[in-house]
Subunit: 714 residues, 2 copies
Amino acid sequence: MNQNEFGKAHTVTQQKPEGSGRPEPRIDIAALGEQLLGTWAQERRTSRDLAGRPEFQRIEGQSMAEHRERVLGQLSLLVDEGAIQRAFPEALGGSNNHGGNIAAFEELVTADPSLQIKAGVQWGLFGSAVLHLGTAGHHEKWLPGIMDLSIPGAFAMTEIGHGSDVASVATTATYVPETDEFEIHTPFRAAWKDYLGNAALHGRAAVVFAQLITRGVNHGVHAFYVPLRDENGFLPGIGGEDDGLKGGLNGIDNGRLHFDHVRIPRINLLNRYGDVDAEGTYTSPIASPGRRFFTMLGTLVQGRVSLDGAAVAASKVALQIAVTYAGQRRQFNATSPVREEVILDYQRHQRRLISRIATTYAMSFAHEELLEKFDGVFSGASDTDEDRQDLETLAAALKPTSTWNALDILQECREACGGAGFITKNRFTSLRADLDVYVTFEGDNNVLLQLVAKRLLTDYAKEFRHLDAGVLARYVVRQAGNVAINRSGLRQLAQTWADTGSEKRSANFLKDAQTQRDLLADRVRTAVAEVADEMRGAAKLPPAEGARVFNEHQHEIIEAARAHGELLLWEAFTAALEEIEDADTRQVMTWVRDLFGLQLIEKDLAWYQMHGRLSSQRARTLGPYINRLLARLRPHAQDLVDAFGYGPEHLRADIASGIEAERQDEAAEYLRRERAKPGAVVDEKILVARRKAAEKAQRHAAKAAAKKGRKVGA
Amino acid sequence: MNQNEFGKAHTVTQQKPEGSGRPEPRIDIAALGEQLLGTWAQERRTSRDLAGRPEFQRIEGQSMAEHRERVLGQLSLLVDEGAIQRAFPEALGGSNNHGGNIAAFEELVTADPSLQIKAGVQWGLFGSAVLHLGTAGHHEKWLPGIMDLSIPGAFAMTEIGHGSDVASVATTATYVPETDEFEIHTPFRAAWKDYLGNAALHGRAAVVFAQLITRGVNHGVHAFYVPLRDENGFLPGIGGEDDGLKGGLNGIDNGRLHFDHVRIPRINLLNRYGDVDAEGTYTSPIASPGRRFFTMLGTLVQGRVSLDGAAVAASKVALQIAVTYAGQRRQFNATSPVREEVILDYQRHQRRLISRIATTYAMSFAHEELLEKFDGVFSGASDTDEDRQDLETLAAALKPTSTWNALDILQECREACGGAGFITKNRFTSLRADLDVYVTFEGDNNVLLQLVAKRLLTDYAKEFRHLDAGVLARYVVRQAGNVAINRSGLRQLAQTWADTGSEKRSANFLKDAQTQRDLLADRVRTAVAEVADEMRGAAKLPPAEGARVFNEHQHEIIEAARAHGELLLWEAFTAALEEIEDADTRQVMTWVRDLFGLQLIEKDLAWYQMHGRLSSQRARTLGPYINRLLARLRPHAQDLVDAFGYGPEHLRADIASGIEAERQDEAAEYLRRERAKPGAVVDEKILVARRKAAEKAQRHAAKAAAKKGRKVGA
């Protein structure tokens, strides 16, 4: 691939924005690119450099065994490069840089998602559990080996029978005072740990989540450090199976584990939030078992944060490829008999790609806010209970939004490139296959959105004390915090609904940021209020009946949570506009934000009309206005994806190399020369048309002659 | 996998339908299954038997080379089994059974989509082109070798530079009278043939589509039989490349071909619709070059027909697996402290799966109608120009609908099974990867929908003669035919819109079949009329301007074509209800049809409100009514997928084998025994709750005592 070709591959046609006498604004690609890199720009650059090196990149077509071996080797390379130490304590060679660690880590997805996820298993889950759930002795004993990969490890939380419902895992860790040991046991098949990276082959140890039982009391799920294998394979009492081939991520050796009364020393309990002394007495700094459980799980939020960021990175790569191709590819000659249309000039293609550029910007800005929040909590800079709960809710709202969006974007890009998009070396299909599982692991997206919904209901209930909190409380996960529901706009909305003016006035209405915010926020708030209202009546019912009532609104409330996630994206995008200094760039990016906001409103347009938020007259203006925005953004499409900043070493797609433009130019030049030749081939169609015209002329002439003859004869 | 387990895996809870005193109806699974098998039930059964045999099934994890070799071998097995001869003439051992041939062929997708598509390349495209575009001499010379696979061949239509726009392919076939030969030539890189099955390795010959040039005139695209390879590889002047790994279908050796002044005998022109004599004089039974081109391409419609059917089959397999699992899997204990919920009892899960069961039934019934139409045309039973054009339009409308639906269904099923859904052996991910390209090959879905849209516009224009046909004609592909736009309902609609009664009356309104039909048909018709209206003004503009105006409505008109495809599905479903004899089955299937129709209306609910077809009040009742329908259909979900009729040998998924229910039962039994033991482990949560209750009681007692003390003291 030729880097120069890539850089030169596009030319932007200067067009004037509708109704404006000013020259068309141009995006400052470098400045916008810098803004996208965000707070941890340097870490991202360093990691992109690594991801651009062939030794970190996926070799397509490798067998599962070869791919697993290669990715394990890449993890060692990451250690050598000092790429994984950032989040660990300074005493152990780290730099306590939590935001930068995630930023760097998620960029690895462009080299190979298997590398990103296997690194995530080793250092983000296994290592992180020892760091955040263990205490000093554990850190000293195990973190050096975890960091240098001499202890590859698994994160043994999920069981065959329990994925998202971690509180219900069935593996037990029973204290045996006689020997000062815990006995780890898998009582039945559904309690086998499953889908664990590093479990099938490479794991020497695991952090196992199990019900801690001592003195006849189950204190709930705790984490235990359990050695798994030595050089001869599984240790006594431990067994497992290889999960084998998966839909993607086959560079990771996922597998199952089971434990048959396996004994570990008592001190292998990662005891930061719950401890057992030699006599078997349980103590915890957190009195409430529920709160203790969520605190422990909360330390593991970085998995969701990094999936959110990786989904953004993969979306950017896909769009940079597909938009570059769409700006070069020509097909069908609608407007000219001699040159075909560039496919990005078709409205449908703009709908497919430019709308998704807008979504990706929104995802990117929102992820940066999530990362800042995460760094604040994990660095200790702003680490209150409320901060932690907000971080959890934010991650639970954004991870589903971005991972589903990424699958949608990868697929639409693949389809927009036709057959070429299906060829593996053009990247879309493998990225999509790998990212598929992002929507169900680290918290199933539907379950996460339900968590968000419950938070929204709780906040609503707290706001309106007259609401009976009885039923709600049963569905509430956590208690504190505040949520981005905007009420101030409601009054203004009420005024503007009545205003059903001209189409132009409607367009002005729609591009007003406050209108967009009010509509999006009201969508969330009203849906939450409606469900809360329905559930108030269920407060007096027995729990099973309350659950039934909740279930009757499950779809509705999950959709409200989804809309809440989208509102967060819109707000992050709008906040990011404020930071743009270059006026031209801000102008174009404001159109992109409008496009994002209006396509959200268009998606829920039925709702807005059903609830009287938009008149049918106004609703009808939305689609045409979005189409005009797309046409206005068309000349900026290449700049917008170039600002994502990935080079040919990241894109690694033939069709984004400029080769399509070369082929088109070669064909056009050949056809031009052929047409210019004397005695050039003529199309039968043209001959037919000429013949018909000649026949018509002849008939006319004959008629005229006959008429003349009649006249002469008369 | 245990067949008995599979059969016994579910139990249906008998529930009463809302507001009815009658016993809950039960589906007659066998009869419904028979209806789904359709006219060519026997051919489907025979093919399912083959697909159930291990030697025809995909071995996951094979390298591309192994997989290609295996599928080639499977093609030979199909020949041995007499499975591919049906569509060929009786004189050559065939049975002229066109519908049965496609029905059998599409069932192979359950064994391995690569097998289906490679068989489709060999017999459905390559062989079919020789059969339908060639004449007796060609049939005698090549069909026996094509049928017995001694001549594996490629269908060389698509070029790197031209996929959907076949009329623009740039490969030339120039007649050379001196030697009585055609010279096949690829003038530039974009004209290389690409993505051709059998081209990379196995193809001995190809049907090459090229611009036929003789005596200085280009007569448009014709098909030529071109030998490619002998036992030593490519013949002189022919070269090619391997497309390498693809996102799926890696059992097929797709590749590129180019031709450097390759000479073939004149008689290798497949001359049914256009011939050249020894002097170079061109003749054709079809005078119009445009009509000739579409007639030739029309003979190849079976590719689209079979993709439609394969998409239906894959959707059925996926739903049969996912629904079986969803009826056994339990997660979270909302209604009971001791047993978790079956996940199909969650409303969101019903929305995800049961709604897609309804879609799949609609797709299945519509495909059967398409197949009947196809058989009528190809058997000659009803083979007018109008029939052929209707068949084309029907295929162009259904193939995009069903292939996109299949990807959506496969993905939703995969996600609904969580991590287990991502494991290759549970089938979803490989089926989805293979079917991915179905949405862009054999006619890109967006391009096909645009063809449908143009047909709708033409029909509309013919209906309203006052409409200036000038601009329209430029976008019109074919001329005749009639389309399923229902006008009679409009008046009735106008009456019912005004009626904004109670929620119950609204529900009655919504479940009325005529209402559903009127709404769906009006959606299509109005959108077409709106665009036609806009375009009337463009009739006077130069062609480039006319194209621009059309482009400004491209998204809208493609959406109307999509809605038209969905209407066809709804109509096929409704027609199929008439054929159900068993009253219970018809009752349940009517609910399924209502669910399908109402979810279509819900998807376009913004449109119905914008255009005054549904009041906001009525619109609000739609979601809740759909939710009630889902709950009503919940007890029938397993029956509905069992009627699809695939056995464990087709499903081949652990999670549909009954193993999940076994694991759940084992876990429940273990936990029951544990709870019953004396000195059973107690949850800390329960101890905390008891302690709090005790403390409260103590405080109450203390207060009471104090009060009593005060009383006594008083």
